[in-house]
Symmetry: C2
Subunit: 226 residues, 2 copies
């Protein structure tokens, strides 16, 4: 048997709502239930976003705290990963929940375009989020939306701004960012192995790219994300 | 003899001033003199930024018009390329000189980090600049600061937002963006040839990366930039 594949479950995400799919869990209670089902089915990392009372993305630390408490009770041993992604807040607000010391948090170390806007991660903000993760002993999952993000993460691991080994997620299929491209996917792996040989990696495809990326990741020995 | 190498001269750039180097040409007269010297030495494209009376970057169309007129007189046949880069203005201001119909203009089709800030090129702005270039018959030079920018340019050429063949410049050596990395340089070429087989390319290294990138570009049959 080969090494086990880690399945990371993103139960809610930052964008979809009940209007897109009534099954999307948006309240804390729904999120805990849905994560428990995934945990029992074999998922070992919960990638968490929270929503406000109107189901809009928020970075509210109180909500993250309640979600974390519920997950610890109902999914004992599951790795809890909070999102610091840009849809739920701006600037340092995005890292306001890091003092809760989740096991992991997402971190994007560069900027890129999203379907209708710039995904802004200024050098200052990136360095601050990285330092907060070190201070609160949170393992970052680097969300790589382009090749330069992989290179930047390796550089930050080398100069001590990120702890080693790196855990990097290749994200493909976001419009106006990197599409699902198998040759590029393989070059991502090659580049990460060259610049950060001890790094682990996983992959996430957005929308129709999800199943494609899962297949590529599993066939190359990487970890996956729902 | 192989195919000729096009030398593009960036006489001023967007950042340096007289304090960095007293030889940097910042007035229109200085720029015309300096470009003429480069033209007589063999350069065939002039990459142009303009400065205001305090030598700060500006997108002022009047200054671009005066520079263009001077270059047409003193460097007959030289290809004139205006910068639409983000340091000299924000939003559509950056393309305000395109109705002057320079031969070429720079265009970045995605966002990325620069040393101390986000280089913002929102999808809307990119599409608008591209449409202005088509309207005024300006050939874009795509400034690729990351792999995703090459992929996006190829997509835009395929769906008609950019004319073909593409002319792409690989930019390396900007802090917090892509460093000078030879394996990645070769992958840039491979990816461009795969996704846009008719494209031409050149390369620009920033600071100490300049001479390195020139050597890589020349050895692979690309064009260069000072
Ligand atoms: Zn997320
Ligand atoms: Zn993951
Ligand atoms: Zn320039
Ligand atoms: Zn060039």
């Amino acid at each position: 048997m080969g090494k086990p594949c880690i399945i990371c479950v993103a139960i809610t995400g930052s964008v979809p709502g009940k209007a897109d799919n009534p099954a999307v869990p948006v309240t804390i209670t729904e999120q805990i239930e849905s994560t428990q089902a995934a945990f029992e089915a074999g998922a070992s990392i919960a990638h968490c976003h929270v929503r406000d009372d109107d189901a809009r993305p928020t970075s509210d630390p109180d909500r993250f705290a309640r979600l974390k408490e519920g997950l610890e009770t109902h999914c004992p041993g599951m790795v809890i990963q909070f999102s610091t992604g840009g849809r739920s807040g701006s600037g340092r607000e995005r890292g306001g929940m890091l003092p809760l010391r989740p096991d992991m948090a997402s971190l994007t170390v560069g900027s890129n375009n999203f379907p209708t806007r710039v995904y802004e991660n200024s050098p200052d903000l990136v360095d601050w989020l990285a330092s907060e993760m070190i201070a609160h002993d949170v393992l970052p999952e680097i969300e790589a939306f382009d090749l330069g993000h992989i290179v930047q993460a390796a550089r930050m691991a080398q100069d001590g701004r990120l702890r080693r080994p790196l855990y990097v997620q290749f994200v493909m299929g976001v419009r106006n960012a990197m599409p699902a491209d198998e040759r590029i996917f393989d070059f991502y792996i090659e580049t990460l192995e060259r610049l950060a040989p001890d790094a682990l990696w996983c992959a996430a495809g957005i929308g129709p790219a999800q199943i494609v990326l899962n297949e590529w990741a599993i066939s190359r020995g990487g970890h996956t994300r729902t």
